[in-house]
């Protein structure tokens, strides 16, 4: 096991709304190793983005992180003063967002925005030094003629270029962890591949860890070392990327994989998971996946399954895992 950089324990983020208490993140445990990439997968609304905002302590009102720990190299980020947390943001943990078109401020040049982000963490540097570093940061994300781009406004750049600028800004202060929230969702497929390649190269150069949040299993297969599958605010399966694709255990993961077209299979139809994610203020009793689960038994409707180890390095939150064994027993009986 590699050295651990970030550990999340029992993280709980809730929203008090008029229709009830919304448990967006409900007792999540995660671990990110140094220099590795953790993919977090799940449908829209499963709490992926709230998880990342909780780690950054940027949960929007009226949300609150009510329980749990976020340990960055042993230091619990949920306990430190706001001023220290600001130093962590952008300094040790940086974040890039889904929409490169709207994540840059339209009234400032891209250079100025990168300089602003760097100034937060090295306020003593001279303007000239900061500019030089910003141009170096643009160069690092392979932006052609960075000196010229420095003085351009976001609307003059393409989507892929803007995402590169966002990455340059995020990496300007050499963070140890990059949280990428759906970094390629808004981009063309070819540009997606370029951005993912770039992230991988930068990871190799700097040795940073990445949390990659996505709903795209293809991106996970390409990028992630480890994977956590989220459903309705909980982690339902946690293992290495290889094990996830070779031996998925949770029925939800099976469903997700079944809905991806593959070249090496001859199938007329893709499987789809019946139904939709339940609204977060009305989660069902027991396992939250049980109304959509083809393997559900009586126990699934009353008792929430905990995350448990079914194989070496493979944790699943399902009463019926390992599922092959359960099905074999059923057919024998």
């Amino acid at each position: 096991m590699q050295q651990e950089l970030l550990r999340v324990e029992g993280l709980r983020t809730v929203f008090q709304t008029s229709s009830g208490l919304v448990r967006a993140v409900d007792g999540v445990d995660l671990s990110v190793a140094r220099g590795r990439t953790l993919g977090i997968v799940g449908e829209s609304g499963c709490g992926k983005s709230m998880l990342s905002l909780s780690i950054m302590r940027l949960v929007p009102q009226p949300g609150r992180t009510v329980d749990g720990k976020v340990l960055l190299e042993g230091r619990n980020l949920l306990d430190i003063p706001t001023g220290d947390m600001r130093q962590v943001r952008g300094g040790q943990i940086a974040m890039i967002f889904q929409e490169p078109m709207t994540s840059l401020n339209p009234v400032h040049t891209v250079g100025r925005q990168i300089v602003e982000a760097m100034k937060v963490h090295s306020p003593k540097d001279s303007a000239a030094a900061l500019k030089e570093q910003a141009i170096a940061a643009l160069k690092r994300v392979r932006i052609p003629s960075p000196e010229r781009r420095f003085d351009e406004y976001p609307h003059q750049l393409s989507g892929g270029m803007r995402q590169r600028v966002m990455i340059a800004m995020a990496l300007a202060c050499r963070p140890r962890l990059l949280i990428a929230d759906e970094p390629t969702t808004a981009l063309d497929v070819t540009v997606q591949a370029q951005i993912l390649d770039l992230l991988r190269e930068l990871q190799a150069e700097t040795g940073m860890s990445i949390i990659l949040i996505t709903h795209d299993l293809g991106v996970v297969a390409e990028m992630a070392d480890d994977v956590a599958v989220m459903y309705a605010g909980k982690v339902v399966e946690r293992t290495s990327a290889r094990a996830l694709f070779e031996d998925p255990q949770h029925p939800y993961t099976l469903g997700l994989l079944g809905s991806v077209p593959r070249l090496d299979e001859d199938r007329d139809r893709l499987l789809a998971i019946e139904g939709a994610v339940p609204p977060p203020f009305a989660f069902p009793d027991g396992c939250r996946f049980n109304p959509r689960c083809p393997f559900a038994i009586a126990r699934c409707r009353t008792e929430m399954p905990p995350l448990r180890l079914v194989e070496d390095g493979h944790e699943v939150a399902c009463h019926r895992a390992p599922i092959e064994k359960a099905l074999a027993m059923e057919s024998a009986a």
């Binding site: 952008g90 940086a94 974040m95 401020n105 602003e116 937060v120």
Partner: protein
């Protein structure tokens, strides 16, 4: 079918990497002849007011009772003289100076405080309710009432008027700024900037404020016209500039006594007030058109 495809392609045609620069704000503003005239009048008025001591033919308080109530066109007195025999041109120049200064000071003071309240309300949602109910309270009093109340405490004078008009401007500016700031707060770049560890003050100053400026400027310009009108009304009621100080509203008030046999003493300052208010209103409208992103080409 082919037509539709072609026109769609034209609509989504990629923007060239190096777009020609959009015509500047000023150029878009003066494209309209009305706006250009309004801007010219405003610039002229401001210049004349600034240069009043050099342009005025006499000192502001020099009087010659032998020419009192002279009508415009009298030898050496192009616009006549007032009841004290003071040159109307001199009085108008100094009056314009005082009136514009009063307007600038109230809009600046009230606008800055109001904008700060608006930004705070949009940024710190927790105190939004409290701040905006306070603003509603201020909004429920007419500006004239503020003027009367403040004059009762501080005594009449031009600073009383400035204070009253500033207080009356604060809630209006706060509402407008809060409205546009709340839209900006929902933008992704605010969250992205937060994620870089930026402090609240910096976030407001660098990212929030610059994106809220156009409605703020438009309102300030329009408000300037209203403030001049209100200030002149307060001066007319005797709460503002005190004799012998020249101020357009106060001049109109003084001229009231001679309305039947020397109407120019009241009418000319009123015409000047009218011109100022009209010019600023037209300029404000033109500014709104020029800054409106939906009208940009």
């Amino acid at each position: 079918m082919a037509d539709i495809g072609a026109s769609a392609a034209a609509v989504v045609a990629p923007v060239p990497a190096s777009m020609p620069k959009r015509p500047g704000m000023l150029r878009r503003l003066v494209r309209e002849p009305v706006a250009a005239i309004a801007l010219a009048i405003v610039v002229l008025l401001v210049l004349v007011a600034l240069l009043a001591p050099w342009l005025a033919p006499t000192g502001p308080f020099d009087n010659d009772l032998s020419v009192a109530l002279s009508v415009p066109g009298t030898e050496g007195l192009m616009l006549g003289a007032d009841g004290q025999g003071r040159n109307m041109i001199t009085r108008l120049l100094y009056g314009l100076r005082a009136t514009l200064m009063m307007g600038v000071a109230s809009v600046l003071l009230g606008g800055v405080v109001g904008a700060l309240v608006g930004f705070a309300a949009a940024f710190y949602r927790r105190i939004d309710g409290l701040l905006m109910r306070l603003m509603d309270m201020l909004l429920s009093f007419p500006a004239i009432l503020f003027g009367l109340a403040i004059a009762a405490i501080l005594g009449p004078g031009i600073s009383t008027i400035i204070l009253a008009l500033s207080v009356a401007t604060v809630p209006l500016m706060a509402r407008i700024v809060r409205g546009s700031a709340m839209v900006v707060m929902r933008q992704d770049y605010i969250e992205a900037a937060r994620a870089t560890g930026m402090s609240d003050a910096r976030l407001i100053l660098r990212h929030l404020a610059p994106n809220c400026l156009s409605p703020l400027f438009v309102f300030a310009t329009l408000r300037f016209g209203q403030v001049i009108l209100l200030g002149s009304a307060l001066s007319f009621l005797g709460l503002g500039a005190q004799a012998p100080m020249a101020e357009l509203g106060a001049m109109a008030s003084e001229g009231r006594d001679f309305l039947f046999f020397a109407p120019h003493i009241a009418v000319i300052p009123c015409l000047l007030i009218f011109t100022i208010v009209l010019a600023f209103n037209l300029l404000g409208d033109a500014l709104r058109d020029a800054l409106d992103p939906r009208l940009r080409v």
